[in-house]
């Protein structure tokens, strides 16, 4: 998978594309941890280009969510239909903040 980090004002953005599965989980987990530890408590994980996701990836997102809660800060997700359907299957949409696209997520964090 491809991992691209961006910055928009004080908002960290991680754009993931391709398959987000167990083989990729350690690297994504570490990159998100660094951004949460060193960032300003505003993080968007953009998975609109992710073509497949598994439970290992869900574990990484939960870890990031918990890390951001402790900071404290705000983590927003942008999902593709495949990602969204697995998040809903595992009921995680009840705890994650999910926005329809990156501009909407940036707007939400800019005004918070």
């Amino acid at each position: 998978m491809l991992i691209n980090e961006q910055k928009h004002d004080n908002i960290d953005i991680v754009v993931l594309s391709g398959r987000f599965v167990m083989a990729d989980s350690p690297e994504v987990r570490e990159r998100l941890k660094v951004l949460i530890d060193e960032g300003q408590g505003k993080l968007v994980v953009d998975m609109s280009q992710v073509s497949f996701i598994d439970s290992s990836a869900c574990a990484v997102l939960i870890s990031a969510f918990k890390g951001m809660q402790l900071k404290p800060g705000r983590l927003l997700l942008v999902t593709s239909p495949v990602v969204q359907s697995l998040i809903e299957l595992t009921r995680l949409h009840t705890i994650f903040e999910i926005l329809p696209n990156l501009p909407a997520a940036l707007d939400a964090l800019s005004t918070s």
Binding site: V21, A23, D54, A59, K66, L89
Partner: protein, 161 residues
């Protein structure tokens, strides 16, 4: 299907590395999509297969590479059947397909498998092979015997379309 009585079958083999899970699951996704013509059916099977293969790599083989994983794909009428075979640590029970607490990072794999297929079961097949070794000049009372124990774990996933 190859004949009226025999299901179509394709076997894939890979070593127990996490990177191979995507290769296997993409191949199986393509087979399921071709056979069923259903994007949803193929995605469900791929999700179940990936969770099952994750378990094999992580738990049966303890993230040790270079162990064998075999996957057999069958098409029988309007039913897809996938067998995932390993020779690693066997499970003594099938975990209940229940969701963990929201903040738990693990424990969602069997929930996903259960949700994505119509049926599944897990078999452990034991076998004992006794090997007798005779060297030139050995007498009968010098025959050494060796007992080799092996087993296979087979998770079968079934999906109708």
């Amino acid at each position: 299907m190859t004949s009226a009585d025999k299901p179509a079958c394709i076997m894939l083999k890979a070593s127990s590395e996490a990177a191979n899970i995507s290769l296997l699951s993409e191949a199986l996704h393509a087979l399921c999509l071709y056979a069923s013509g259903s994007v949803a059916c193929a995605l469900d099977m791929q999700r179940a297969v990936v969770e099952a293969l994750n378990n094999v790599v992580e738990h049966a083989y303890g993230n040790q590479p270079d162990h064998d994983i075999s996957v057999c794909w069958y098409l029988e009428n309007r039913q897809l059947r996938i067998e995932i075979i390993d020779c690693g640590q066997s499970m003594s029970f099938l975990p209940e397909p229940v969701l963990p607490d929201f903040d738990a990072e693990g424990g969602r794999g069997w929930w996903i498998i259960n949700a994505c297929v119509n049926d599944y079961d897990y078999k452990v097949i034991d076998s004992v092979n006794r090997e007798y070794v005779l060297r030139p000049g050995d007498r009968n009372d010098n025959i050494r015997s060796a007992s080799i124990e092996a087993h296979s774990n087979i998770l079968t996933l079934i999906k109708q379309f």
